[in-house]
Amino acid sequence: MKVHNKLFLTGYSLTLCFALVGCGGGATSTAASDDSTPPVSKTTYSVSGTVPGTLIEAFCKNGSYYSVNSTDDGSTNHPFTLELPKEVDCKFIMTTNEKDVDTSKHIVTPLLFNNGTTTSSYFQLSDDLDIGHVPLPMSGEGIQAPLTVSNSKVQVNSFSYDPLDTDNDGIPNVYEDDDNDGVVNKYDEDDDNDGILDTEDSDYANDSDGDGIENSYDQDDDNDSLNDSDDDDDDNDNIKDTDDDDYDSSNTTTTTTVVLPITYKADAGRLLGSQCAQCHGTNGISVNEWDSIAGEGDLANEIFEDDEPIMSAQAHGYTSEEITLIGNWLKTL
């Protein structure tokens, strides 16, 4: 469901942060140096290339979905461009003969990406990417062998558990044919052939688009390319969410994200200090009137001077060396 708030605020504060960091930081950015406009933090990047006449679909690990048809420019290599969210793992399915009304005649090709070290169906963007020409098969029917795109610049992540392909056979759940009736789930209005349309079937109530990610965790419940935070009709039943009593109201607002690290670095102070979070909040940021301790500059004294008996009971369980380790970590927050 669409909710008009936060987005703008978030965008504003991000820009502001960036500007402040820019003032204090060194000259690390070379882009747009001849431009007085502050750098804008991009949330999407484009992936482009050329294909035969093709439907290009991206299925992403957070449940979001994007698609575009290639542009017929008269040549055999039709260009396409698709905007995808930054640093989200997505996979491509490309369909030729996509205009045939008999969907069993569609020629469906999953892509694999190889960057020299890793091969996987999942890639993610932290910059625009041109994958060149993809020579998709033009004959055959149904699911084809995957095509591998080799590109050393692309971030490729391989997962042993793939929520979008739960049997791990290389075919996304939406392109499986669960009831073996010759119509893949994506185009089948009754995936399990029980005589109840999927839209009315309680078996599919938790996963409207059948992509394998339950609606509560799916950024795009109906795979209509509109993320639920921008979609007036999350389950695509033509009843607006405001009038609909059966859509999943999760993912309707843009949520705050945290910056996750790329790699793990052991830190004894952080491990010990994380044990303060039960009472003082994650990373020392309390959600109520109890003290936030992030940035605490004098833990060694503060921890014993606290007038809460439960705090001093805890404090006496730690050595001064441990308190120093915790205090040093808190100063970094």
Partner: protein
Amino acid sequence: MKTTHSNSRRDFMKFVGVSSLFAITPSIANAATIPHIVVVGGGFSGATCAKYLKMWGGSSVDVTIIEPNATYVSPILSNLVLNGQKTTANLSFTYGTYSSKYSINMVHSTVNSVDKTNQSLTLANGNTVKYDKLVLAPGIDFIKTNDYDITKIPHAWKAGEQTNLLKAQIDAMVDGDTFTMTIPAAPYRCPPGPYERACVVADYLKNTKGYSNCKVVVLDANAKIIVEEETFAATFASYGVDYRPSTTPTAVNDTTKTVTYTEGGTSKTLSSTVLNVIPNQKAAPVIFTAGVNSGNWAPINPLSYESVLNSGIYIIGDSQATGQPKAGHIGNSEAKVCADAILRTLSGVALYASPKTNSACYSPTSATSASWLTGVYKYDATTQTMVSSSFEAGAPSTSNYAKMFNWSGNLFSDTFA
């Protein structure tokens, strides 16, 4: 419905690897696959572990939670549902924001089998999930004296529907009725919890309902009040709670609402308007399915929470066998030690040699007062166990009652937000 077949997924497998674009590349074996850590159970221990694995390990690990319920109801504070100060909705947590914030895969299903050789789980939904490290945080299971209907004799020791059932039964009581609860033999989930419940219910009947003739009977399988003895003994006395230690239930009858128990070698039967039997406890079923139990619980190495019976499988929270109490706060605490140990192991870094955990619990003793209990546990290298390094209790007060919500608020947030 069409009957013509396109290429089936079986035919497809024959073609794998045939065509490629710029280069022929192997598409099956892949050394760079991101380690997959599966956490079974999304309660205080499991949700904390998954969150901290991603918060500290980031994109170097892929984390999936397998949890049967889409909504978790906290047992912490759930005695306040009984006296109407909270609802189970107030204590409910979902995983939508949480999972997208930390990029955690959520699967709502249960584990049917554990294949330790191939490191994979078979789920009730039919899917197979492979793991590189397996964290089991499944909570507790009950050891009932006999087969009886828990909708008639609720335990209310896993929060949710059971809590509301017990509340409805208490609310149906009239003056002169009897509320009887049984306290299981230690170890069980939340040591002060049953004593706290007896106080809250006695206070509710007497002071909220105004029933001066209701009886509250406590049958304790333990020889004495096992925590905060002074606090609970004094509070029981003030409410006139009939406390009977060393009483072991042997049979429960849901038709007659009676409990049969032994006391001093004699078998007795007690009838009660409301009967709240909290059975003895053991580790949850998946611990036995995985074969990582020794007796009723799962022995682990406290430096990592890795099973001493199976490497690569970790057990945190109520199911593990250390002497640390079984409760949500310390489950959260253990989860961080476990998450850090798994990340160290995956990174080839030695385990942290002297981890600390802590326990804290505020217990309501009436609608306006609460006591507290807290402890710090340190690793003792000689015995290779967690031992108490500081332990204190605070007497009931109205100010502690207010602070109880600061404690639970940050604990809930550190776990589920």
